[in-house]
Symmetry: D3
Subunit: 240 residues, 6 copies
């Protein structure tokens, strides 16, 4: 039996914490922690929409992602100083935006934009899945704020979204890879789900050997288990 | 029964053509056509490696992707003129590079880099999957050139790689989406496989409604069928 | 008697081919070949004009130029990846735009822009002159399309434009330099003419020794001969 | 008597908290809070020096500064996405670097660089002074880490540095301006001091009316009082 | 007694010359010389305001600063070629703009922008203080031009502004540092004053040892003396 | 008979002044004036060569060009602030560099680079031809400096270079166009010559109607006359 570096069971997630109202200015502000991975997720409401949507009577949700330079083991160059976002950063923020748009009825949102910002202050693997999971809570807080402010009438929230990583580590399908696992796993898969059990994104990459259909199915089972637990934690956080 | 805009059966690919030696300078140069989608794929051999690999006695494969401004129905801005590659471009070229690295034994390649360039001259959906499929043939030609030039001794080619898109169109799983289908499909999935049946990448995105596990499995079956056909066409092209 | 690397007579052009409707989306799309130099020229119609022309009741023609990274003997960096167009690229695209504007009556074009894109897929010298010659045919196709679409009433085409390079190679004035000649010629001159025999541009650069007025006149004679032949080929292509 | 928006006495600072080891990867990591202003300050040790110092047998301290997009009342554009740091950002990070270099004996530091990163997660005025004050504690932690790791022998710490803002608000000199004060004050002055009472930087700007020498002297007295209190808090934090 | 490299007394400025109408196109154009430091200062009038001021019935003054590449002892890279302005450049141009805005009543200026450009053609220390002093004269000329053109009715000039550097050189407070002094001085302070004796900016930086309050006061006295002399020279130049 | 806006005869140049040692730091520094066009040309000696020439035992000459923002009738944006040089700027600086390389024997220059900077402080047409003419004098001064400093033994100066613009204005060939002529001329041609009567560059552009061979020849005659006069003025300046 393979043992994980963290000692966790193959289907065990790290401890997850979701802290609402973490900073004071944003309409939604959440600190999400997946073990040592810590991300500040804010949702900002803007009373306008991007040019391509003007006059279409609908809203938009978009996202940006960043890492503090020393959120990682060795310091990364600051993207603002280098003058461009890396391909990895752009890929992740496109994923976050696409995932959260699945949570929202754009007609019901009206001509407003909710801008998500996910900033990693400490990284230990799974920053994109933590970002999506935390940002969905910030998004709900921003929507509730809009309702209190009478900016919208109905409820644009269609469903909750959560995300978890799974992978194949030394031949064993595992849930919620931390950095030591993720950097050596044969396969790394990020899954985004709805709280009704549908898939929004499945992105599985063989880093070493190709993976089989059996491994793919085993990873999907783990992801479903993980997302189910995350939906509960989101609800607990929102109930506080 | 849903009918596809192209009239194709749900499991039918478009006509695929692979033309080797399409341009004269590159060590490998292929024009790949998936119906109206046409991509020039070149493989260029460079007798050095990126800084992070120097002295490690291994090679590298990397890729860049671009579209001619008027490869599309309405003209896109030229990325060179705007001064940056879009997030989509970066995402695609990262995928192509990752996929083709799975074809190569980096130790056997020695301290050389094979640079893949995929430039779309006409687009009708599926440009990234056509790029991967065509670039793998260009890659083989570049490796054969290196062998003839005595730059390497063994054979760094581990396996062939091909790629196809699948999706759910009006509720029906379909193979090889063209632009009219891809722009309205509920789900779009790109699959990269090895000729031994393993998965290198599975990237499935719900554009509209979430997709179910049954749909996911049906799409994977279609992708396997498509990749199998593509491996045959690659072999025919390489045999000429 | 000096012999040219290609074995051509001093006043002989390479084989020229002009293929219309080379790609399917653009209003005008031409593959132009001057021997091994191959350029895709498209003309795209846009129903607006740049800011500095708004409300002036006239149109505009502008051009962009690029080379595929491996259109050349050794791979060039991709301009989109480096984040800027080189000085050479900008110089060439300014020349192409200026040359083609001489073909068009801007009042008759109305408030439309014709955007020319010249993308070199294989280079062997003379890419800018091939671009101008091919783009003029694409421009005519775009204008004819506008007439069929009833976007304009009259005919904004004033005259045809073609372009050829001439030079002094080992003391001998020669027509239509290919890459081996152009990289060693003492003088390289690009000439753009109208089909009525006027000059639009003469750009002659001494790469080695200065050139004399006699050499200049000899080069101009060759250029006139070359442009005359190119006007015939443009007409043949347009007649098909 | 003028009353401050916060109700504080004219010579009263906001509550200051300095939390060491706030994140886990950096050699020094501090969360500094001046009331609602919260900044993560990390100090990263790098075993090299910038090019202009190579071979000079001395070290370097440099700094970068950033704000999370929603650290402020209305969302600011992300500098990494815009592709450049603002003039304000550059001015602040130059000030932070210059100030902290005054704390360090560069010869004793040897050929190492300490990179300071100050990232504002919540802003309410005084972010640059909080950054300097917090970063000095992170710097000490990084130096202590280098000593434990035997990277250096002696102690490169020459003196502690702290910084506070002062200003003239409705004619009254005040200490430690928060955002509502700073945005309406006639004069805003940032002072950086050593724990031996010397001045490292005095930067006083009249936003409205010019200030007199008397006002300048009154502000300096307040700054001395503030810095003295900050040095005590730094020592308490370092003693924990 | 310490002697200055230039042989000047500690409170002696270099020879200052202010030449109006130095170039012919700008509404105000001044060559200012502080010894060997020579700066062309122009003031350009634009009949619009930046976006953030539109409709507010007030004007704006802003500034840009540059150095010719060989204005200095060894050639500096050209900022336009490198594609960005350095932090130092941005800091200086922000200072110039802020200083000159103190000279102008923005309501009286109406919806106009005065754009200041300070370009150093020869540098020998003190370029920012010479820029501010010279630009204020160009600003007056631009305002007088606007009055003659009937663009404004009243007089938006509130007060004159001048600027001088002071420092501590080998322990001695000195006025108007040239490059040899400035590059070795322990402290460098730039002071911007109004002709009514108020302070607009005081920016004092310890380059080596910290400075004491006594040194600060001595430097301020020198600065007052220097600015007083500069106001006289501005008036003489404006009287010509 | 057409009269020129300036009242000059068709073959009359504006008054030309060449002032050496205009600024004090550069090895060669010239203010060149063609009437109201004023350009500072400096030549800076660097004891290294660009990467592509290392180890080839030869030198290099390169050039950069800029315009002060208010050198023109209406203010141009500062290229350093916009973050890029325009196509026009790049075209001109490539022309200047190419022209001056014709003056120098690169082997005799040894492994040194002479960097030319041409900065327009006042523009009235013909800035590129004035730049080339003035920069050649600065180049000679830099070469003489290198000889005095014993950096080189022989004399790398092969020949003098000068440049003038000619054109067709209202049907009349004219010499040395100023801005009012240049902006309305049908044809604008820049000619670069050697003092032995050879052509380095001929760049003739039809802005309106195409030009005939007769006009081309007439313009060349005028250019020869102009360059001959410029060579005399260069020699007078160098003799002082």
């Amino acid at each position: 039996m393979v043992s994980r570096p963290s000692g966790r069971a193959s289907d065990a997630m790290r401890e997850v914490k979701i802290t609402r109202n973490y900073t004071c200015h944003a309409e939604g502000s959440v600190l999400v922690e997946f073990g040592n991975t810590k991300v500040i997720c804010t949702a900002s409401v803007d009373a306008s929409v991007p040019r391509f949507l003007r006059g279409k009577n609908q809203g938009w949700v978009t996202a940006e992602y960043g890492m503090l330079p020393r959120s990682t083991g060795s310091r990364m160059g600051r993207e603002a100083a280098r003058g461009k976002q890396s391909g990895r950063t752009q890929e992740i923020q496109r994923l976050i935006g696409r995932s959260l748009r699945a949570a929202v009825d754009m007609q019901a949102l009206g001509e407003h934009t909710i801008q998500i910002d996910c900033d990693v202050i400490q990284a230990d693997g799974g920053t994109r899945t933590a970002s999506i999971t935390g940002a969905c809570v910030a998004l709900v807080d921003a929507i509730r704020w809009m309702q209190r402010e009478k900016m919208i009438k109905g409820d644009p929230l269609k469903q909750m979204i959560s995300s978890i990583s799974v992978g194949v580590y030394k031949g064993m399908p595992v849930l919620d890879l931390d950095y030591p696992e993720g950097s050596t796993a044969e396969t790394d898969m990020n899954v985004v789900m709805t709280d009704q059990g549908g898939f929004i994104e499945v992105q599985g990459t063989a880093e070493g050997a190709p993976y089989t259909q059996e491994e793919l199915l085993a990873m999907l089972e783990l992801a479903k288990k993980g997302c189910t637990e995350l939906f509960e934690m989101q609800q607990q956080a929102l109930a506080e």
